[in-house]
């Protein structure tokens, strides 16, 4: 279309609008408040994220990692992600890292695995680092680890052979891939190591050398990955390499992964409550841990928060109907709290007066972790793994 035709049309539109809306007399009602001013559209930036912010990573269905302020209960923003992604925060708080897999035509075309780097204030894409692969699985936290100094990302891949892809976040490139045969996960430990669990019941630690190449050392086997597995979503202190792991029967494994991996000595959450250990026999009904992220660890106080349900063994995905607060030093249950609503995910902030977060379906509950009093019930918060920002992942 030519410019002149456009201009003529434009004038006629304005004329039409004028004749329609134009000359209406104003009814003057004397003491009226002033008109609302016209407004500009703008865009919010995220605040610096404190320890009392929680991220709910919905990585199936209506995807997005939603950030909530635990004190106000308000949503702060959503980090965009493809289906089945992992999201982690740079320890220095500058970036979000999204490990995602996108096909050029949705369900078809070329597969593109990438670590998308987003600015932590604006959430804009800073860069995309192409990855040679990654595992597609829901509700797992430790498929993506960020080293304590923010230098390396560890992306767990299974294709279906197991390996850890190491990304240099300073130089924005993949350094290489270390095979971890028979093991899985890639939780960051310290500045240059990554923790995995193995199908033979061992721990594996992949340590990077000066050139970023990994070598794997393994502990003795100490649990049965077949008969009493440790939940994938354990709690790990990235800085120290200490971790708290929990098995289907309710055994707690206090792990020290700072040096050569050592087999930990477990204790029972049921015994901590004065009950017998859980039986795996059919027909035996026990209190058992369950859900998708069934345990949170408040490291400063040594408290564990465990989602428990009554059931037979092999009910490990059942959401918790009780929350057990356990002192990991004395190995005693301090409180057993019946939950108003079942929950499959639990996380705790790492500050001095911590907040507890529970998630089920699309609802997020915020509780005072000391009194277990509910502070917020947040509807349509999404559903998935919970992450607070601090050393414990």
């Amino acid at each position: 279309m030519g410019g002149i035709g456009r201009m003529r049309q434009r004038i006629s539109v304005i004329a039409a609008l004028l004749s329609a809306a134009g000359v209406q007399a104003q009814a003057q009602t004397p003491p009226r408040p002033p008109e609302l001013p016209v407004e500009e559209s703008d865009v919010a930036a995220l605040p610096v994220l404190g320890p009392r912010v929680v991220m709910v990573n919905t990585n199936w269905g209506s995807t997005g990692a939603r950030l909530f302020d635990g004190d106000t209960g308000k949503m702060l923003g959503l980090i965009h992600e493809a289906q089945l992604s992992n999201v982690a925060l740079d320890p220095a708080g500058r970036y979000f890292y999204v490990a995602e897999s996108i096909w050029t035509k949705g369900n078809r075309g070329t597969r593109q695995d990438m670590l998308t780097v987003r600015d932590a204030r604006t959430l804009k894409v800073v860069r995309e680092i192409a990855l040679p692969g990654r595992l597609l699985v829901g509700t797992r936290k430790h498929d993506l680890g960020i080293s304590a100094d923010g230098r390396y990302a560890y992306v767990y891949d299974f294709d279906p052979a197991s390996s850890i892809i190491v990304v240099d976040l300073v130089r924005s490139r993949v350094l290489g891939r270390t095979e971890v045969p028979g093991c899985g996960l890639s939780a960051a430990i310290g500045a240059a190591a990554s923790l995995s669990l193995c199908a033979d019941g061992a721990l594996a630690v992949t340590t990077l050398d000066a050139r970023g190449r990994g070598s794997v050392s393994r502990s003795e086997s100490f649990f049965s990955a077949e008969n009493d597995p440790i939940f994938d979503n354990f709690a790990v202190d990235t800085a120290s390499g200490a971790a708290m792991m929990l098995s289907y029967t309710g055994l707690v494994y206090p792990v020290d992964a700072s040096g050569e991996p050592k087999a930990p000595t477990p204790w029972s959450v049921q015994e901590a409550a004065g009950l017998p250990r859980a039986s795996t026999a059919p027909l035996a009904v026990n209190w058992l841990p369950g859900g998708r992220q069934p345990m949170a660890w408040h490291k400063p106080s040594g408290r564990l928060f465990v989602l428990m349900h009554m059931g037979e063994y092999w009910s490990q995905k059942e959401p918790g109907t009780e929350l057990w607060v356990i002192d990991s030093a004395t190995r005693r249950v301090l409180t057993r709290k019946k939950l108003k609503h079942k929950a499959s995910f639990v996380e705790v902030s790492q500050d001095a007066q911590p907040l507890l977060f529970l998630n089920e379906e699309e609802t997020l509950w915020v509780l005072d972790a000391a009194t277990l009093e509910q502070k917020h019930e947040i509807a349509n918060a999404g559903g998935g793994t919970l992450t607070t920002f601090g050393p414990v992942r």
């Binding site: 539109v13 329609a20 809306a21 559209s41 919010a44 939603r66 949503m75 923003g77």
Partner: protein
């Protein structure tokens, strides 16, 4: 009071509806297109709701019960024709897009009555685009909302024209003028 009889008001308003952002030449490209489309009534201000009757009898069900205190509720006065997630529940505000999203320079419009001053305002519902659906505080109000062959007042269209991504995240409700 705006001057209804001058072209300037309409120019201003069109610029505003188009976000009067010349970033990426949007106005040049889209503004002209909108203006050129001969039968889009961009300003549906001449009818019942923008008339003088502010009594209960003159108001729609929405307007009779609308409130001005809580912009995270569907019955907030500006939301008379909104469809989608309220940005106020998503890390944004009533005219502010959440982090990581962009306001569309284009929008559909509504004419809503502010119960505090009894005036009808022209509201531009600007979608915030670029991130997956916020999916919180979903509202679908339909005062004077129309079908897609009259798009300026249709709230089902993804109004993310002219931004870098057409992924719908949430909707804002921006006062762009009075409609009296």
């Amino acid at each position: 009071m705006p001057d209804h009889s001058s072209d300037a008001r309409f120019e201003r308003l069109l610029r505003r509806l188009a976000g009067h952002s010349s970033r990426r030449g949007i106005l040049a490209r889209l503004g002209a297109t909108i203006v050129a489309a001969p039968v889009f009534p961009l300003l549906p201000v001449s009818h019942a709701q923008s008339g003088k009757d502010r009594s209960v009898r003159g108001k729609t069900g929405f307007a009779r019960t609308a409130q001005t205190k809580d912009d995270t509720q569907c019955d907030y006065w500006r939301y008379c024709a909104i469809d989608g997630s309220l940005c106020t529940c998503c890390g944004g505000g009533v005219h502010t897009c959440p982090p990581g999203t962009e306001p569309s320079p284009t929008s559909w419009v509504g004419t809503c009555i502010n119960p505090d001053d009894g005036r009808a305002y022209l509201i531009a519902y600007r979608d915030c685009c670029g991130s997956s659906a916020c999916n919180r505080c979903n509202c679908d109000n339909t005062d004077r909302a129309t079908e897609i062959y009259r798009p300026s007042t249709n709230n089902d269209i993804i109004w993310c024209f002219g931004v870098s991504s057409m992924e719908y995240h949430c909707s804002t409700a921006v006062v762009v003028g009075t409609a009296e």
